[in-house]
Subunit: 223 residues, 2 copies
């Protein structure tokens, strides 16, 4: 696809439906927003809306994709700037909160759908696989483009572990009621240096055993 | 109250309503079970049901209380038996899974209500305070009755940190689809020795700085 390609009528309609859906989810909540309401507000027929999206879940997956694309794009500049692991990780996590923050209210209400273990909207579901892989790829860049020195065993799993840590940060953010998510930014600013220290210490003889045992436990028990 | 006290008629009715509610929550799900349905199944009037419980949330809080009482009771025997920190923590966590396991299916479906940040059913809510305190008290016993040697700073916060860890185990259990929660037991069996090692290492000069910084971050950012 060329960079100057003009979107087709079909692409425009799809985009309009997606944007309308997201606005209604934010205004009325996920449960109260029906496909019919989305179609009406977007000025298309219900059949037309279903032609583009089989369900509300698909519309949420699209939101996940866009949110991840936003984040990956912002991270490119951050990762081009700094070689130091600590600065790279801090920049990427700050940017994650920045890009999520406009959806704070929606996230609080929507969280219960994403938190249900069997839901396709869970970040651990098969359906969320592509977005999850794109997210982990950012943390792989954080590690691989850095000057970090650590135990080779930990290096292999580190991108996925950092993604899990980022999910913990997002979980904290969902529960954070401080103005402008000030506490979540503080969480990141205070935990990133700790992670950096611990990852560095993993090379020390006294630590290596514990770290390797922790990694083997993680590999054994991940889904 | 004497140990041989016969429950009053009023206590019997309250208990019957609570047991019926829990059965219906399990059979029909939390949302689909109305106070009216609970009253009908228990053979009491709707007014009578509301006399004992102002809402479904109160019935769930009662379930939390009973579940915690079950666990605290089982732990008494475990903690009377062993002085070693590792064995005490392992016993207490295994018992936590044992007591939750009959509610596995219910927990998977119910989780989304407890996970909503603003919900009184969240384990972090004001309403859940008494149950949370009772749970933390168990971990205080785990630490205080043990022969554990660690940094005095970590010792103060350790009961609450162990409770948080147990919440992480419960979160993993909710998502665990292995038969008889076999993976959750394995998680506990593999992470308890790691925690024991790390808590012991916190006294070492190289570790103490990182541990204290982590604790100060935790105190700063807890709700």
């Amino acid at each position: 696809m060329s960079a100057v390609a003009v979107p087709t009528k079909s692409e425009q309609t799809r985009d309009l439906i997606a944007k309308t859906a997201l606005r209604l989810f934010r205004e009325r909540g996920y449960e109260a927003t029906t496909m019919r309401a989305i179609a009406t507000e977007a000025g298309v027929s219900v059949g037309n809306a279903y032609y583009y999206f089989a369900s509300k879940e698909e519309l949420i997956q699209l939101y996940y994709e866009h949110s991840q694309e936003d984040h990956s794009e912002v991270c490119e500049a951050i990762l081009a700037r700094d070689r130091e692991f600590r600065a790279r990780l801090l920049g990427v996590l700050r940017a994650r909160i920045d890009t999520l923050q406009p959806y704070k209210e929606f996230a609080g209400k929507f969280f219960k759908y994403a938190a249900e273990p069997s839901s396709p909207l869970s970040p651990f579901s098969a359906e969320s696989g592509p977005v999850r892989d794109a997210a982990i790829a950012v943390y792989r860049q954080v590690v691989e483009g850095s000057t970090l020195k650590t135990d080779p065993e930990i290096r292999t799993d580190l991108p996925e572990l950092l993604w899990l840590y980022s999910m913990g940060v997002v979980l904290y953010w969902v529960y954070d009621s401080s103005p402008d998510a000030e506490k979540t930014y503080r969480l990141v600013e205070r935990t990133v240096p700790l992670i950096d220290k611990l990852v560095g210490m993993a090379r020390l003889p006294g630590m290596r055993g514990v770290v390797r045992e922790a990694l083997s436990t993680y590999r054994d028990l991940r889904k």
